[in-house]
């Protein structure tokens, strides 16, 4: 029954999209969909050419299912001392810092060294966890942050007085567009694999010297919820796309549990 209502809903959604696409082919409704995970990079659907959209989005989950132009909205990755031998200009990223909604406010409104007179009145300067009511609203479980098994806290990653920046091992600010310079501090093996294209995601040209859009760490992982409970896979749980059509004449998929393989 649940399955029925579910597929009916899907069908309705699907038909809605198709019929609207047919009724007004020049002006499709504005659709915003997310790229890797909800809450990270988003993209607005538009037509690059007639009949050639920049992205196709899933009617069920709202995830990007297809890129028309992998380099749409990207900028050069810039100085990347850790990526040796990669042709310059061929590595691009989608800038995130300007898209993070509260980012421009961080250093201006609260962390400018003066700050409004809230309680506690001083900015935390030590790395030891202290209650911060204003931040707890954004990062639940702040005092018990499980990243690194509870061994690290805000100021291990965020710059002490430039809060719109991250921080490297020497206290230098790191842009939110290059979080790998921060994450690589601890995850060196993953950093190496990411640099060589074994870990993480890139889109664009497959040749080892080709132009690629690199997805940086935080586009896929949420550093504030990196363990994601019992699964502990470093990736939040998401809704799956629609299941395949049932084989001819089958009303449900119980046969899979009996025989193992549907052919």
């Amino acid at each position: 029954m649940k399955k029925l209502t579910f597929s009916a809903m899907l069908l309705a959604l699907w038909c809605g999209i198709i019929s609207s696409a047919f009724s007004q082919p020049t002006q499709p409704p504005e659709i915003t969909c997310f790229e890797s995970r909800k809450g990270a990079s988003e993209v607005v659907r538009r037509d690059l050419q007639p009949g050639w959209p920049n992205v196709k989005c899933s009617p069920k989950t709202g995830a990007v299912l297809w890129w028309g132009d992998p380099f749409d909205g990207t900028v050069p990755m810039g100085d990347m001392p850790t990526v040796e031998n990669f042709p310059t200009g061929k590595a691009v990223v989608k800038p995130r810092s300007e898209k993070i909604a509260l980012m421009p406010m961080c250093a201006v409104a609260c962390h400018n060294g003066v700050g409004p007179k809230f309680n506690p009145p001083k900015l935390p300067t030590s790395k030891m966890p202290t209650p911060i009511p204003t931040m707890a609203a954004m990062v639940p479980d702040l005092q018990n942050l499980q990243h690194g098994g509870g061994r690290i806290w805000c100021l291990d990653c965020h710059h002490t007085n430039q809060r719109n920046k991250l921080v490297d091992n020497f206290g230098n600010p790191v842009s939110f567009d290059q979080p790998q310079l921060l994450c690589g501090k601890c995850h060196g093996d993953k950093m190496r694999d990411w640099r060589d294209g074994i870990h993480g995601k890139r889109i664009g040209e497959w040749a080892s010297t080709g132009k690629k859009r690199w997805f940086t760490c935080t586009e896929c992982h949420n550093p504030h919820n990196v363990q994601d409970g019992a699964r502990n896979r470093g990736f939040p749980q998401i809704a799956p796309e629609v299941p395949p059509q049932l084989p001819w004449g089958m009303k449900d998929a119980k046969h899979e549990l009996r025989h193992g393989v549907s052919h």
Binding site: I198, K201, I203, W206, R233, P244, A253, V261
Partner: protein, 311 residues
């Protein structure tokens, strides 16, 4: 009707091209001029049929390239984005009636097993009473037990592992051996392709493929105009007809132009990797050098160019 159309050079695009198509040769045996003619014919027909400018690429295998694929089996979360990206890219049939939706990738959900010391001697399949090798907790003869139709609210589930399968582009493809009309064959840069015009729909290849990679269009494919992908390749994602077999070809229309396959680009966890096996710096070559790699059903000597790995 067809004869008349041919003789009078009729403007009826559909009639003339269909007549010409009946008499074209096997794609591999066509001359360059015949290929160009076939390509122009198809571009005209598809453009009229789908009301947009459709291109049919006929580019040949890239020199110095042997395409290879790798998938990190530990990373896959079973989200099926790859499956749907493939349908969007490759113009599969997507109707609602039985048999009208075709997907080339299958994501298999498997229960997490355990190989504990206590269970070492429990390898006897229930009801059969004989040991059939290894830790076979279920009857032998079945491989890849699992579900394709799982529908949880969220993935990955706690006790499941996911295994996507599609065409492995075998080096020694059994599907090619059995094809009576030689319409399916291995291209020089690796992928096994199908000349849809020569497929007689006998389904020998479907029976021969040990990876359940092939699908047949038993119904007339349902491909709405608005959703049709106009960038196609003759041996790749051009619209298929009723009664022909199709399967994954590593997005020939994209990869021959240098771009990653659609499933690689869409995977949210970056589990999918694609590259040139002959280039030691390619992603796939580095994975083969560094990671733990296995091939599915390696004992069948099909030598897939699709590698599963974990780290």
């Amino acid at each position: 009707m067809g004869v008349a159309a041919l003789m009078t050079q009729s403007d009826d695009v559909k009639a003339t091209v269909e007549w010409a198509e009946q008499f074209q040769g096997n794609y591999r045996l066509m001359t360059a001029a015949e290929k160009a003619e076939a390509r122009a014919r198809l571009e005209r027909r598809y453009s009229a049929q789908y009301s947009k400018k459709v291109t049919v690429d006929t580019s040949e295998a890239l020199p110095g390239v042997l395409m290879g694929y790798a998938l990190n089996i530990r990373k896959c979360i079973g989200c099926r984005r790859c499956v749907n990206a493939c349908v969007e890219e490759n113009n599969q049939s997507r109707g609602k009636n039985p048999g009208e939706r075709i997907e080339w990738i299958q994501v298999l959900r498997m229960e997490r097993g355990e190989f504990s010391k206590e269970k070492m001697n429990e390898g006897y399949p229930e009801g059969l009473g004989i040991q059939v090798g290894g830790n076979a907790y279920t009857p032998a003869g079945q491989v890849l037990e699992g579900q394709y139709h799982y529908e949880p609210a969220l993935v990955p589930e706690k006790d499941a592992t996911y295994m996507p399968i599609a065409c492995m582009q075998c080096e020694k493809p059994p599907c090619v051996k059995v094809c009576p009309v030689r319409t399916t064959y291995r291209e020089a840069d690796g992928p096994v392709v199908i000349d849809y015009n020569w497929c007689i729909g006998c389904r020998m290849c479907m029976g021969a493929c040990p990876y359940w990679a092939r699908r047949i269009n038993l119904t007339t494919p349902v491909l709405p105009k608005a959703e049709m992908n106009p960038v196609t390749h003759y041996l790749g994602n051009r619209p298929r007809m009723r009664g022909v077999v199709e399967k994954c070809h590593w997005c020939l229309q994209r990869t021959r132009q240098g771009r990653y396959p659609a499933c690689v680009e869409v995977c949210p966890v970056g589990a999918r990797k694609f590259g040139n096996l002959l280039d030691p710096q390619s992603e796939v070559s580095l994975i083969l050098a560094r990671k733990n790699v296995f091939r599915l059903k390696a004992e069948l000597n099909t030598f897939p160019k699709f590698f599963y790995f974990y780290d």
